[in-house]
């Protein structure tokens, strides 16, 4: 049975995606299903649709790991089967459905042109997630985990009202699923952390 509170998020720094490589047919063939090729042309001049689809699939991968899927890489296991453009005057947003052999999940994606694309996957029952995206600039890669942990605690502190210095980030050593604990007790939040380039994205949803 699916965990109805599970979420998975993913951010891609658009400055880091190598447009020449990411538009090569060989590269695209490794990632996208036949169905997904309908959403773009390989020689697309659209600056973000390929990254957006990739971000959707990566967030679905994190989502399904939380549903018990083995942490193995196979982008063809996840397919965007519905993609709806929700562009309005102020934001470029997409929503849709991703299917895999374990079931379906919904997603929402937001594009900040020339900066990042971000996607969040969730179950049909879970629509109240909080998302926090921050530019951390250029930092030493060795300190990314520490910075992400601090940002996550700050974020959860705002949602829970608990002082961030009392919160602890713990990760399951096998699945790498993160949790936030307070005084040795796991707090009722499903959380997802993503980092790429200069951006960190944190998403959380209450599980009770």
């Amino acid at each position: 049975m699916l965990n109805k509170y599970a979420i998975g998020n993913d951010i891609i720094d658009l400055k880091l995606s190598d447009k020449q490589v990411w538009r090569q047919k060989r590269f695209l063939d490794k990632i996208f299903t036949t169905n997904e090729f309908q959403y773009f042309k390989p020689d697309t001049t659209n600056d973000f649709i390929i990254e957006l689809l990739f971000s959707c699939k990566e967030s679905a991968y994190k989502y399904f790991v939380k549903q018990g899927r083995e942490r193995a890489f196979n982008p063809h296991s996840f397919s965007v089967c519905e993609l709806i453009n929700r562009e309005n005057h102020s934001k470029i947003q997409y929503s849709g459905i991703i299917e895999c052999d374990q079931g379906n999940c919904k997603f929402i994606s937001e594009v900040n042109p020339s900066r990042y694309v971000h996607s969040l996957c969730f179950t049909n029952d879970c629509s109240f997630s909080s998302i926090f995206i921050k530019s951390i600039g250029t930092v030493n890669e060795n300190s990314i985990s520490e910075i992400a942990g601090l940002e996550l605690k700050h974020f959860i502190s705002g949602l829970s009202g608990i002082d961030e210095s009392s919160l602890e980030l713990v990760k399951d050593q096998i699945t790498l699923i993160p949790y936030i604990a307070y005084k040795g007790r796991i707090l009722p939040f499903d959380i997802s952390i993503s980092h790429d380039g200069e951006y960190i994205a944190v998403a959380a949803t209450k599980t009770e």
Binding site: F54, R71, F73, N74
Partner: protein
Amino acid sequence: MNDYPTIKTQVLKIIEKYAFNKDLVKEALDDSRIIADLKINSARIVDIILDIEDQYNIEIDDKSIEKMIRVKDAVEIILNKINA
């Protein structure tokens, strides 16, 4: 030479090229998980697979990609394919 230690050295060199944290790759063991321990993200995994295909003139199919969890898995998949 297409023996295990040689392929392993070559594979780690490819992984290091795309790793954000190169120190982790320098300390990698046979059992190190490519995504979880070496902190390689999915986009870079595709780059690594394409480089492996080019270097050994092989094709890494979906099933092989899914099995490529640890450094030793990658080396064994390459050895199996070049010796097939």
